[in-house]
Amino acid sequence: MSSVLLKNIVKRFGDFTAVHKTTLDIPDGAFVTLLGPSGCGKTTTLRMIAGLLDPTEGDIVIGGRRVNDIPIHKRNLGVVFQNYALFPHKSVAENVAFGLRYRDVPKADIPRRVQAALELVQLPDLGARRPRELSGGQQQRVALARAIVIEPDVLLLDEPLSALDANLREDMRVELKRIQERIGVTTVFVTHDQSEALAMSDRIVVMSAGRVEQVGAPEQVYNAPASEFVANFLGASNIVPCMCTRRGPEGATLEAPALGAIAVPAARAPKLREGPAKLVLRAEKLQLLPEGAPCDGRITAPAVVETVDYQGQTVRYFVRIGERQFQAINLIEERPFAVGARVVAAFRPQDCAGLPGT
């Protein structure tokens, strides 16, 4: 196991810069997710760590050793690809044994280690099958077993769950995290799925257009987004232009039209200065209440329901507060509000975040 350090790496393809100057420190044993939309540079970054791409500038250091000039087959990394990339002409056991045959593993030990890896991914009886005889989820597990059986220094996962259907994806998410915790390998996980990132990571690196937008623990990235992009990419947020009228050590006060003064805690407004600002109000934190309901210390504003997007357990409303439309995602108690209903929109100021900007 090893830490991974990316020092000022840049990747250009001709005139196009896929990854702008980026520095990233991934501690030993951590589960770090590169999260972002397609084309944000997350897979390019992963492929540079793997040695499948050479960085145009900067250093890649794995376990304290600069690996820029070390070819992929000598880096001792476990890589799981989006489409699994199993060897179709080899059996499951031969697939898993592949990496061991290129290492100093005594021949007699190989079957035992292959079997142990297959047991770890809960496929102990499928060693003799061919990959095409397996379901997508099983192929995924074989790809994982093949990557971890070599005891890699770092495990690199390139959207490993995106080809699975929704239910299986959630099961595999739990499974993958269990296996990673058990073997304790440093893991870099690439995904565009925010719920995967939030559920699995010790740290999330949010990327956009080849730049790192924010690095932080899941709660940190979710609750205190560092940019408008992060606020919108992880869940739905209402971004409201406002004025920061006061900035103190305990927090900042934001004045937003139709909402009044909102006291945002300092941890959620680290970069805020007095002047033009933006209020970030998560759609899940904006609660709609019937007119006249008690609002126990929350900030309230009268609102009119404009659109109702029913989703079973929850409902997504678009409501008008003053001049702006807001999004609110609420659990359904009894029956959702109807279009045109006059309601009270309520939220707690400590659930809001503040961003500098106009």
Partner: protein
């Protein structure tokens, strides 16, 4: 008519034009050839209808025909091997290239726009006594007299390779294109060098394409008569030249029919063996 009956008829209606063309233009003439092969050519030059086994006996027992059949198969095999050795790296380069693959494949097809006969004859201008190669060698002072490069087996193999190489490249290219590029990357990440991952992953996965290209090259090569006619010497005749000789020169249709069916059976057996082990789908992919 019920819906089921209508749906059952539909494929036959769609297939009818092609089926009738193949039946009329291929199977019926082939049947004529089969019937002809049992007729007998008499001393007067007239064909006597009937069921005589004389032509087949001659074709199957005469060592002259057997030797030429064997040398035909040998030339086809050598040509196929040369095409595989030259075609595989080319196909690999195109498949792994970041450039315009479509353009490269189109360039590969470009020779097909020129008649096969013209392409074959062009070698006379290159290898002939006053051709480009000899002119260059003499100008450089390597030789003082023109070297005889034409009208031998090597020239036939060269001409056939020139003709058949695109078939090999296309088939291998298609099978290489079907291999997920990440599979090689996965092998590398597990510790295999590029050469090792090529030998253990890419090459085995592209074998069906290599086999399909090989079959096409072999069958087309073994059935050719233009190349040995133009580039071969008197002793380099291939089996199809014997058929040509019997039918066109000697006007001995019964013997020519038996000989042509013999070649058809030998090559057909090879295709059947290929189909037994690899299936025709790969060939279809290569042609499509």
């Amino acid at each position: 008519m019920s819906v089921e009956a209508r749906e059952a008829r539909q494929p036959w209606i769609l297939l009818a034009p092609a089926l009738s063309a193949v039946t009329l233009l291929l199977f019926v003439p082939l049947l004529f050839i089969l019937v002809y092969s049992f007729w007998l050519r008499t001393a007067t030059g007239a064909d006597q209808p009937g069921f005589f086994l004389d032509n087949w006996r001659e074709a199957l027992t005469d060592p002259f025909y057997r030797d030429i059949l064997l040398s035909t198969l040998r030339i086809a095999a050598i040509t196929t091997a040369v095409c595989a050795l030259m075609g595989y790296p080319t196909a690999y380069f195109i498949a792994r290239s970041r450039g315009d693959k479509l353009l490269m494949v189109l360039l590969l097809m470009l020779p097909f726009w020129i008649s096969y006969i013209i392409r074959t004859m062009s070698w006379i201008n290159i290898l002939g006594a006053s051709g480009a190669a000899n002119a260059a060698l003499m100008a450089l002072g390597v030789v003082s007299e023109p070297v005889n490069m034409l009208y031998n087996e090597a020239a036939v193999i060269l001409g056939l390779t020139h003709y058949l190489l695109p078939f090999m490249i296309l088939n291998v290219f298609v099978s290489l294109e079907g291999i997920d590029a990440n599979v090689e990357a996965a092998a590398n990440s597990l510790g295999a060098t590029r050469w090792q991952s090529f030998l253990e992953v890419t090459l085995p996965l592209s074998l069906p394409g290599l086999a399909a290209g090989g079959l096409l090259c072999f069958v087309l090569g073994a059935g050719t008569y233009i190349t040995p006619l133009i580039l071969g010497g008197p002793r380099d005749a291939m089996f199809a030249n014997l058929v040509f000789e019997a039918i066109i020169t000697q006007l001995n249709w019964p013997l020519g029919s038996a000989l042509s069916l013999m070649l058809l059976l030998v090559l057909g057996a090879l295709v059947a063996i290929y189909n037994r082990y690899l299936g025709m789908t790969q060939l279809m992919k290569g042609l499509g």
